[in-house]
């Protein structure tokens, strides 16, 4: 028993050391960039690292920006665990959010039931968008990676049209739909920040996905299909189902992310409000290595870097885009096996 425990702890420690190294390299990148680009590197760095923690407001906003990343990260993780790629997060969030907004307004008389229905409808629409890519792969082996990307790009444009056209709220000069009724808006957690109780729903989603993947028959079958689909098929698992279902669920989670962004933060579908959320969700899943439990720290880390860069831009003389550079460096490092194995000399053959 004790031996068993040691076996588990050691790799965890090694992995921890690897992650620490990545964080250290990322931090040195921030320092280097500040020294090169800023006239006042000390101030820039101070705001970069402490800015997001400086006040309830900044901290709340950072947490809030992590929420759609958590949903997106979960969605991508789920698809990747089943061996599918979902590159359509952008369109799925945006489309899901629009449907959620419209349904909420339409179902308003139904009260809480209406809200749930609206969330479900929005998420299902997003799920259907992704599921269609899964269907194409199942049916004709069309690369779901490419189709989900193409569909998403087309959907973005159609949603743009719907928001700016038929569903435009004429009473505002924003290009946006009408706002959802006040009663449906999630309550704020750290006012005046944007953080809302959507955070709890994100945590619930993490737990649900974790339980689904690791504690249920369907989740087990999904993972088996992803690890080795020939084995899964041989074992009697309906592998075709696990091309479509995980893609659907992946889109569904993205759509929920969009829905909760509406319920918690934006209250209306504003044109292009979700730009970048889908890609960042993908990034979070990759950092988390598709483990639902790791999606939370990954999303927080991602949100922290963005919030830090924004804070440094607000208060000092650097541009926001240094966030992209730091994130990309983290990306470069995060998946490199060598970093993990620096701490364990012996490597397994591939």
């Amino acid at each position: 028993m004790l031996e068993n425990k040691n076996k588990k702890v050691l790799p965890t420690l090694r992995e921890g050391a690897g992650s620490l190294l990545i964080v250290l390299i990322a931090l040195s990148a921030v320092i280097a960039l500040s020294l090169i680009l800023s006239k006042n590197p000390g101030k820039t760095l101070g705001y970069f690292f402490l800015g997001p923690l400086q006040s309830r407001y900044y901290f709340g906003n950072m947490l809030n920006s992590a929420i759609p990343l958590i949903f997106g990260g979960l969605g991508v993780s789920l698809a990747m665990q089943s061996g599918n790629f979902n590159l359509g997060g952008e369109g799925q969030i945006y489309g899901g959010a629009l449907i959620t907004t419209l349904c909420t307004i339409y179902f308003a008389p139904l009260g809480i039931v209406g809200a749930l229905l609206a969330l479900f409808a929005g998420a299902s629409t997003a799920g259907a968008l992704a599921g269609f890519s899964g269907f194409l792969r199942m049916k004709w082996n069309t690369s779901e990676l490419i189709t989900s990307f193409l569909i998403s790009n087309a959907v973005l444009l159609v949603v743009n049209y719907l928001i700016a056209g038929p569903f435009l709220d004429p009473s505002t000069s924003l290009i946006a739909t009408r706002k959802i009724p006040e009663t449906f808006r999630l309550s704020a957690l750290l006012p005046p920040s944007n953080l809302s109780t959507a955070l709890f729903f994100a945590l619930v989603a993490v737990i649900t996905v974790h339980i689904y993947l690791y504690k249920t028959k369907s989740g087990y079958e999904l993972r088996m299909t992803g690890l080795n689909s020939r084995f899964a098929k041989y074992g009697g698992i309906n592998t075709k189902k696990f091309i479509v279902l995980p893609m659907f669920l992946s889109g569904f989670l993205y759509g929920l992310g969009g829905g909760f962004a509406i319920y918690g933060t934006y209250f209306a579908s504003i044109k292009e409000f979700s730009a970048g959320m889908g890609w960042n969700g993908l990034a979070v899943a990759l950092i988390a290595k598709n483990k639902p439990s790791a999606v939370i720290p990954a999303a927080l880390f991602f949100a922290y870097i963005e919030a830090g860069a924004r804070s440094a831009m607000l208060h000092s003389d650097v541009t926001f885009e240094i966030a992209a550079i730091v994130q990309s460096i983290v990306f470069f490092l995060i998946s490199s096996e060598v970093l993990l194995t620096l701490f364990e000399k012996k490597r397994r053959p591939a």
């Binding site: 906003n61 504003i270 927080l300």
Partner: protein
Amino acid sequence: MKKIICTALLMAVILFLAVAAGSVEKETTDTHSLSILVYITGVTAGSPPYTALAEGATEFASENQNVTVKIYEAGFNQAQWEEQLTSLVATGEYDLVLGSNPSLPEICVSIGKKFPNQKFVITDAFMEGNPQIRTYLYNQYEQSLFLGYLAGLVTTSNMSHANKDLKIGFIAAQEYPLLNKHMVPGFLDGARMVNPNIEVDFRVIGNWFDANKAADLATSMKNAGVDVFAAIAGGASQGLFKVAKEQGAYIVFHNTNEYKSAPGYVVGSGSMEQKKLTKEILKDALGGNIEYGIASIVGAQEGYLRFIADDPAYTNNLPDSIRVKFDAFMEDIYKGKIAYTLPAL
């Protein structure tokens, strides 16, 4: 399990830090000086109104010692504007937020609820009745009208690149209400004052940066018979300049002097006197003379919209016959003699 504990610990530490940091509130700044935040809803580069806004404020600050200016470029994502602006206002460092965008007043209303002492002056926007907000709306219909009139004159002329088709073009990065309801109709109405059979070919790029797509669109429009273009396309306008230079087409440009962008082809530039307006606003603000809650519409008559006729390019690029007609038209515009009904937004 280990991971979950680590995560929980990390979150706890961050929360603690946040609460600790949050308790230290910033002190408010001295009232004798004026601290201005210029909130750019986009980026300044490639966007003349924003450049003018920023320059006006910076120049004003350099002329007045007790005025400080922070220029903040918020990027194109509308949905992030409110969050960003709130966080800027939350610092309490700024006496006045200056911005220029039709959708800003709305955002300011909701931010104003959280920070009731914050004042906003927004140009290029219209909102009445909020005691924290003062707005100035440029009469873009009017500018489009006179640029359209010029375009009409050019397309019906026998200038070397003008053709027989009664077609003028308008390239937009994206569609939005002010564009759809004031600018494009104004442009068409102006052109039809020359010849009622003129049509506008209106096309959309889809974003503010794909200059190559803008070039492709312009080529396609030129092939469809367009010989005079207008564009509200941000950085993507570069594509239009390229096509005009290479294939021969005329451009009338909104808001800023762009004669040099395609020498010989930009036949007219409107001017939005954003810098002038900015300085006047700031002067009033320093003197405490701004009446909040009021909205005004400013145009050529008030001196905030102008046609740039004093650039040698204007004289060189257009034949006398056209200039005579157009100068007379502009004279009437400045005097308010041209009758039109401003469409509702």
